[in-house]
């Protein structure tokens, strides 16, 4: 195992997506990592196809020449190999640090430098950063980003991870040397394999975190997150689709995994956890009281604020002295209205 090297496992299954793979590699190249190994895991590619992939890997403006490996999953049938592909990549990796990346996603500058530094400065087994979500559309043959937003920013700790996944597959790095168990992805998962891996790792050691956005998760308009995060309509056929059935099956499998995992902690850690829980309960009660109070106060002031903003609009004064001020005022009033709208008891 090379002590300084970062091995990046990239899953890639079709030459039709070569353009996206090249973007993904370009973003890796912009990391300017001194010792990096690129492992592209392909599925049943012949030698000519592998050569094309290798040419794209080497054809980037690397500051430091990378080690490039194109490895095949060699699937005997057409089954989904997303989990197997990760294992094939892990087996080929010679670096101490390992990161995963899908061909259609991109890293931001300094992602690997930040994640590696976090590992080196802590005792964590895994470091992660934040991810921005980009919803994309292809118009003609050109990509178009409809919108972007911070999305996977809600979780902070391993405990949050147990509630739901907020650590996207290309937003973390693992220190293999510190792992007490072999790094292996459960191949019975045909979806959510990355979350299953994270859950297993989460009971083995600490995670280190940066609040910086380190990468972008790119989704098409029809993706479920496009609806959840941006409010775009999703195809009504989805609920009946094959994908939906597979997804639900894997979600059930994940529930079984949760049942089977055990957290090992010292009495001291357990006691700290209990204290934290008690504090959280107090804080929640206080927040609830504050919110109720705010609702009363704001409902009183809201009308006054609205009246003021419309007076400004009528006089045209705001638009002359500060462009956009009026718009901001109206926006703020609307936000307050939404926030402090009396809830149904």
């Amino acid at each position: 195992m090379n002590g300084n090297r970062i091995s990046v496992v990239i899953r890639f299954h079709s030459l039709a997506a070569l353009e996206q793979l090249e973007q993904c590699l370009f973003s890796v190249c912009l990391q300017n990592t001194e010792d990096i190994e690129i492992i592209v895991v392909v599925k049943n590619f012949d030698q000519a196809q592998k050569s094309i992939v290798e040419e794209v890997c080497l054809g980037q403006p690397w500051l430091f020449a990378p080690i490039v490996k194109i490895v095949d999953c060699n699937a005997t049938d057409d089954h989904d190999t997303r989990a197997e592909a990760l294992n094939v990549g892990i087996t080929s990796a010679s670096g101490r640090y390992i990161a995963f990346l899908d061909y259609d996603d991109v890293l931001y500058h300094q992602c690997y430098e930040t994640l590696k530094k976090l590992l080196q400065e802590s005792k964590a087994i895994l470091s992660f950063g934040r991810t921005r979500l980009a919803v994309m559309e292809t118009i003609g043959d050109k990509p178009y980003v409809i919108s972007k937003k911070k999305w996977f920013f809600w979780g902070d700790s391993r405990r949050d991870l147990w509630k739901g996944n907020f650590i996207v597959i290309h937003s973390y790095m693992i220190d293999k040397e510190r792992l007490p168990i072999p790094l292996l992805v459960d191949t019975t998962f045909t979806r959510l394999e990355d979350y299953a891996l994270l859950l297993r790792l989460s009971v083995e050691g600490d995670f280190a975190k940066t609040e910086d956005a380190v990468c972008e998760y790119r989704i098409p308009l029809g993706h479920e997150l496009a609806e959840e995060a941006f409010g775009f309509d999703r195809s009504s056929d989805y609920e009946q689709s094959h994908e939906s059935v597979i997804w639900n099956m894997n979600t059930d499998k994940l529930a079984t995994l949760r049942e089977s995992l055990r957290v090992n902690m010292s009495l001291e850690q357990f006691s700290e956890l209990m204290d934290e829980l008690a504090d959280l309960k107090k804080e929640r009660k206080w927040l609830k009281e504050q919110l109720e109070h705010s609702e009363q106060v704001w409902s009183k002031h809201l009308e006054e604020a609205e009246l003021l903003s419309f007076r400004l609009l009528r006089s045209g004064h705001a638009a002359v002295s500060k462009p956009g001020l009026l718009k901001e005022t109206v926006k703020t009033v609307r936000t307050f209205r939404k926030l402090f709208k009396p809830r149904n008891k």
């Binding site: 500051l63 919108s147 002295s321 462009p323």
Partner: protein, 291 residues
């Protein structure tokens, strides 16, 4: 999708790449030059690339003397000190268009990196449309400004990687060098649009450029607001100018408004300016697709 090389006719197409350095680290310039070499290979023999470099800061000539790039030529001009971005670029454009008779000039930020197909794709787009100002898309974080995804018209273009055809230069000139740095690209775009040229973004020509997570020093912030104020004054947008002045004092970037350099405005507002300029959206200068 595989695309063939554009048809440039019998003549070899001459493209100058203008680089104005300012104390850049050698590794940045080295990576930029290797990316240009990759672009040159994609372009083939019918396109000749020439890098024109001038240092506004520390001398970078030793890098260009020691490294050899067989796929393109480099001309390193004698520095005239820190004359500003626009003035530096104008000097290079002057050489490119008047001395070297180049067909196109590309402004290139020294801390950026070309995708190997970027210049090829920009040329494809220049060939598909009538002469236009053309921006390569910054990568991985593009500017959120709203552009038309069907005809690629963009309200303004960034100068980080910007292709200027000779025809447009001859018609409207280069940057307004009264902008020391920042906003000169917005100004050039608006002038081009007012003159009837299109400003387009080449959405699959990627230019690697770090824009996220950069810390702005107070000095940079001050330069941005001073340039924005100059832009507002030039385009007769009084409220925005006053707002910039307010910001400069509120943020304590200047002690008092009188300390800001005076504005010299001899720019005659084009009759169609109202349909081109946009100060409504502050520094986005257009509607934004995301915050």
């Amino acid at each position: 999708m595989q695309r063939s090389q554009p048809d440039y006719g019998a003549e070899t197409l001459q493209i100058a790449l203008g680089i104005v350095t300012y104390n850049n680290q050698h590794y940045q310039l080295e990576q930029l030059l290797s990316s240009i070499a990759l672009c040159a290979r994609e372009l083939g023999d019918k396109v000749a690339l020439k890098c024109l470099v001038v240092d506004n800061g520390a001398d970078s000539s030793d890098l260009f003397e020691h490294k050899k790039y067989p796929d393109f030529s480099i001309q390193h001009l004698t520095s005239q000190g820190n004359v500003g971005f626009g003035a530096g670029m104008n000097r290079l454009m002057d050489v490119a268009f008047r001395e070297l008779n180049c067909h196109h000039f590309i402004c290139v930020n020294p801390d950026g990196v070309f995708h190997r197909k970027a210049i090829l794709r920009m040329l494809h787009m220049q060939n598909s449309f009538a002469s236009c100002l053309l921006e390569a898309k910054q990568f991985p974080e593009e500017h959120p400004k709203q552009y038309d995804p069907e005809n690629f018209d963009s309200p303004w273009l960034s100068g980080a990687c910007l292709m200027i055809p000779a025809e447009i230069y001859k018609s409207i000139g280069g940057f307004d060098d009264r902008f020391f740095m920042y906003m000169e690209d917005v100004d050039l775009s608006w002038r081009a649009r007012c003159a009837g040229f299109k400003t387009k973004i080449c959405t699959d020509a990627y230019f690697g450029h770090q824009v996220l997570g950069r810390d702005f020093s107070a000095r940079t912030e001050k330069t941005i607001f001073i340039s924005a104020r100059a832009l507002a004054a030039k385009w007769h947008e009084e409220p925005f100018r006053l707002w910039c002045e307010e910001q400069l004092t509120e943020r304590k970037l200047v002690e008092k408004v009188e300390a800001i350099p005076a504005l010299l405005n001899n720019f005659e507002l084009p009759s169609n300016a109202k349909s081109v300029v946009d100060f409504e959206h502050y520094f986005t200068f257009s509607q934004a697709r995301w915050e």
